[in-house]
């Protein structure tokens, strides 16, 4: 790949992380941007915040719960002017300054259902007992009220656990807490690189909070119809800003300053996998393998199909060259770079990429950090001489146009035969017609014969829509004969049927000679078994006929012939 330098690849860094948990920032104010990754460890323990200087791990801090997102932001204007790292995890945001824990912010609690609050108050004062508490809470839940975790847990317990649980928890204040789902930053009043930024959080309760960085108070709250998953933020909080949010219901919503309710931009047909904003356009990667672009008004500009499932997308904003593009990581271990809707580069990676970030790393302006599914870390740097063509590299007629058609070849013999036909067309035609009539007659005769003897495995009688299939299993001398009977109609059940067999009784012995069938429900396949013993050891076999009879009728409805396989003799060693 000629545009990117492979700076580092470590397949065993054991990093389990996502795009939203990777960021690069100059946390020591020494001009050397560090790489900050929140590692989810194994998914249940060993979560860490890792900071890389260059290609080696600088520090590691353990985190308590799984990190949902990592950002760096300038909290204040004090010296030394270093940014803080914010890690969102559960309902908390942990702020680290100079790589040491600084502050823990807790999300504001949500409102608790007043009836529920009342109930627990009553329990605290011992005014009601646990059983009635349970009943009332259950009733609340069935009406559809959202309860706190405590009440939900309470409802799941066994009766003997209710009392200890209640006494354990009743004195603590009842709260309903939600968790953070996504995290972003927005500059507050000035647009410089090191100006103070606010934190933007999306929560599971479908809200967005804007936090003031100095006092960690909630500056604004915004509502969404569904839980936010991806956010893209631009602007200044005090002046004018825009937040574009992709939610779990597949909708994209837009927020402006002063707006409390999200305005729908567009409803996607399949779930978004990543969201980025390029200028005024919103670019979304979707689960149905497309990359789509919309204006902020909701008009679809273009849609490009990608060859494999998208795992994540990331914006590539090379400020020096003034070049903006979208990086799309695919499940076939490739990264596609799209400039507008044109594919301008394809990068191959050693493994499927799960997280990507483009930006300043170390002292390099244009580096791309990628983490892979297998836990590896890939760092690539864009060459200074790299140029991305405007043109689409996949244009032009497809190569298959140059392949010749696979027309079957005809031989001279064929041509000769056509001559023959030309000469003898009339007689050939007559002969064929003549033969055809004879064949039709013959077939019809045989058909009628078969119908008479009912030697059909599928009945032609619309009153008795049945289908019969039979199988033989075993090597002998004892075989199992399975008869499968199916009622092929939609609605008519079959009653009063009997299965019976006809066989040579010097050769075979059946353990059941008649099988009564129950009522056959339409559409289901019933199987009946009979054991057959081969009495001869001479290695000969014969056929067995299976008949399905209806009460009071002398002609069987359907029949089947089974060729019994040759029985293995009892081997005496």
């Amino acid at each position: 790949d000629d545009k990117w330098l492979e700076a580092h690849y470590d397949p065993v860094s054991s990093l389990y992380t996502f795009t939203q948990c990777i960021t690069m920032s100059d946390i020591n104010a020494d001009g050397d941007h560090k790489l900050i990754i929140a590692d989810l460890g194994t998914g249940s323990y060993d979560m860490k915040l890792k900071v890389y200087k260059g290609t080696s791990l600088m520090t590691e801090n353990a985190i308590i719960d799984l990190p949902t997102g990592v950002v760096t932001f300038y909290m204040d204007t004090n010296e030394p002017h270093t940014p803080a790292i914010a890690v969102a995890s559960g309902p908390f945001i942990y702020v680290y300054k100079n790589l040491r824990p600084y502050f823990k912010f807790t999300l504001p609690t949500l409102s608790v259902n007043p009836v529920e609050q009342d109930l627990w108050d009553q329990v605290k004062e011992d005014r009601i007992d646990v059983m009635s508490l349970r009943e009332m809470l259950d009733g609340l839940r069935c009406e559809g009220a959202t309860l706190t975790v405590r009440s939900m847990r309470f409802l799941q317990l066994q009766s003997h656990d209710l009392e200890p649980f209640a006494s354990l928890h009743k004195h603590a204040p009842l709260k309903r807490q939600t968790v953070i789902t996504c995290l972003a930053t927005m500059k507050k009043s000035m647009a410089e690189e090191d100006a103070i930024s606010c934190l933007i959080l999306g929560t599971e309760s479908s809200h967005i909070y804007v936090l003031d960085p100095e006092a960690f108070t909630v500056l604004a709250t915004m509502d969404l119809p569904s839980v936010p998953v991806f956010m893209s933020v631009s602007g200044l909080f005090d002046v004018e800003f825009r937040i574009v949010v992709a939610c779990r219901n597949g909708g994209i919503y837009n927020f402006k300053r002063g707006v409390k309710e999200g305005k729908t931009v567009f409803e996607l047909n399949s779930q978004p996998v990543g969201l980025e904003r390029l200028g005024k356009n919103i670019i979304v990667g979707c689960m149905d393998r497309t990359l789509q672009c919309y204006t902020s008004k909701g008009k679809k500009l273009w849609s490009v199909a990608v060859p494999a499932d998208i795992t994540t997308i990331q914006m590539m904003d090379h400020q020096q060259k003034g070049f903006k593009a979208i990086l799309v990581a695919l499940a076939n271990s490739e990264v596609h770079i799209y400039r507008d809707k044109y594919l301008c580069n394809v990068m191959k990676t050693p493994d499927v990429i799960t997280g990507m970030k483009f930006g300043r790393f170390g002292r390099e302006e244009a580096s791309l950090i990628m983490t892979t599914k297998g836990g590896g870390l890939v760092i690539r740097i864009l060459k200074r001489t790299a140029k991305f063509e405007e043109k689409d590299i996949s244009a032009g007629p497809p190569s298959s146009q140059n392949q010749k058609l696979n027309v079957p070849k005809k031989t001279k013999l064929f041509v000769d035969q056509t001559m023959r036909e030309r000469e003898n067309a009339v007689s050939m035609h007559r002969q064929f017609q003549h033969d055809l009539y004879r064949l039709r007659l013959e077939t019809a005769r045989n058909y009628v014969k078969a119908l008479d003897r009912s030697m059909n495995p599928i009945s032609t009688n619309p009153q008795e829509p049945l289908k019969l299939a039979a199988q033989v299993q075993g090597l002998g001398p004892i075989f199992k004969l399975t008869v499968n009977l199916q009622n092929t109609s939609m609605t008519v059940p079959s009653l009063d049927l009997i299965i019976t067999f006809q066989y040579d009784n010097t050769l075979y012995k059946f353990n059941k000679s008649i099988i009564q069938t129950p009522m056959l429900v339409p559409g289901l396949n019933y199987s009946f078994e009979a054991l057959v013993e081969c009495l001869s050891d001479k290695g000969i076999s014969d056929t067995v006929k299976v008949f399905v009879l209806k009460k009071n009728r002398s002609v069987p409805i359907i029949a089947a012939i089974i060729n019994m396989p040759i029985s293995e003799a009892m081997v005496v060693v």
């Binding site: 689960m287 005809k410 064929f432």
Partner: protein, 430 residues
């Protein structure tokens, strides 16, 4: 008191793995969450149901969605998913009921209206389907609704309305290959070839491997006689779907146009082997064999085509031609009668050929009558270009009929005029 873990704490992780299609990891996390919350974490159950649906286990997925509705009866989403699962299991009536319930809870939901429309379509209630789909479009101009609405109109054979709908769809999403191709095909059906070609060309620029568009565009090129161009386009399609009967049919007819009869026959035979019930392929086979003077084979293919589709007058006409050469004038006459009766007066070729036949049989009066019908039919067609062969033949026959015993040319009017071959447009729809 110890902190109780919030039920929804892993929802974001489950969601992320789900959208990346990392279903195995997702399932593991879902299982953990369900164990931890004793099955009460709604989103985990929801995602589990979605994954089951992707794997094709729709019945199980339905049951899980129903659990979701129990956990959270206020959620419209859950109801919609239940309805969708019912739809996928072909229980359309039940699906409509659930959608109605969901509609009570929310307004202006495109998805509900659209899916209701689709269910009505399956229940063969096009009126209701149209109502719902139009409603859906008013909520959200989504190309899927347009496409579905177009299909409903097509099912009712209302081509003009369908064209209208697709036109609007094209305005809305100009790059959608399916919409462009369908619109192109509809224009072809109504005879507006220029527009059709334009749209098909567009479809091909966006997706050069779109087999449907290639077939349609190729057939139009064949109409104009550009056989070589059509063949190059077909090569692309052949690389994509090597066993497509309409493709081989069209390729065969290209060769026929280039007068390579043997190649034409082998392609057509392959098409026939792959799709024995397709009357168009049989028709073309009959036609080619007639040109090769293999009348017995021609008869055989044409009679097969007639058995499959008894209402096409052109088939009877060709059959009659074959019979004429097989020395069976009585049946030939019958066939011509059938053709003429079925056709009314629309196709002049039937009458012309019948006229020639009758003339050769010595039935002057009948021939004259047919010739008159031929003239009326030609005039009725207006300014459609008349086949030069037809003109030539008619000019010879005309004077022969009016002239008395002495004729300019003595031999039998051998050349019957053959209608243009039938290229096939669009893929076989199952």
């Amino acid at each position: 008191a110890p902190e109780l873990a919030i039920f929804e704490r892993r929802n974001w992780l489950i969601h992320l793995h789900f959208v990346r299609k990392e279903y195995d990891t997702c399932k593991v996390i879902v299982k953990e969450q369900l164990a931890e919350t004793n099955g009460m974490c709604e989103y985990a159950v929801y995602v589990q149901a979605l994954i089951l649906r992707q794997e094709g286990r729709i019945q199980e997925s339905l049951e899980l969605f129903q659990t979701c509705t129990l956990l959270n009866p206020q959620s419209v989403d859950n109801l919609k998913q239940v309805a969708r699962s019912l739809f996928l299991l072909a229980r359309h009536k039940a699906a409509i009921d659930v959608y109605n319930e969901a509609a009570k809870m929310t307004e202006g939901d495109w998805e509900i209206s659209h899916n209701k429309g689709v269910c009505y379509m399956y229940l063969k209630n096009p009126e209701q389907a149209k109502v719902c789909l139009k409603e859906a479009i008013s909520f959200n101009r989504n190309e899927l609704s347009y496409i579905m609405l177009g299909k409903v109109y097509l099912a009712e054979k209302d081509i003009h309305m369908a064209i209208d709908v697709y036109k609007r769809a094209v305005e809305f999403s100009p790059e959608n290959g399916e919409v462009l191709t369908t619109l192109g095909l509809l224009y072809m059906q109504t005879g507006q070839f220029q527009k059709a070609f334009e749209h098909l060309g567009n479809a091909l620029t966006y997706d050069p491997c779109n087999v449907k568009a290639i077939l349609a565009a190729g057939s139009m090129m064949q109409h104009h006689g550009d056989f070589d161009v059509a063949l190059t386009k077909y090569r692309v399609a052949a690389a994509e779907t090597p066993e497509s009967p309409p493709l081989w049919n069209n390729i065969g007819m290209c060769f026929f146009g280039k007068k390579k009869y043997v190649a034409a026959i082998s392609c057509l035979k392959r098409a026939n082997y792959l799709a024995p019930f397709d009357w168009k392929i049989l028709y073309n086979l009959g036609l080619v064999h007639l040109s090769m003077q293999q009348y017995a084979s021609a008869f055989h293919f044409l009679s097969a085509a007639i058995n499959l589709r008894p209402k096409i007058p052109a088939l009877f006409m060709l059959l009659a031609v074959a019979l004429t050469h097989l020395d069976d004038p009585d049946n030939a006459r019958e066939a011509y009668e059938q053709a003429a009766a079925m056709d009314g007066d629309k196709d002049p070729m039937v009458h012309l050929n019948y006229a020639v036949f009758l003339y050769n049989q010595g039935d002057r009066r009948g021939a004259q009558k047919q010739f008159n019908s031929f003239e009326t039919a030609t005039k009725a067609q207006g300014n459609v270009e008349i086949d030069p062969e037809m003109l030539e033949l008619s000019s010879k026959l005309g004077p022969a009929l009016q002239v008395g015993e002495s004729m300019v040319w003595q031999q039998k009017a051998k050349a019957e005029v053959k209608p243009p071959p039938l290229p096939q447009v669009g893929l076989r729809t199952h």
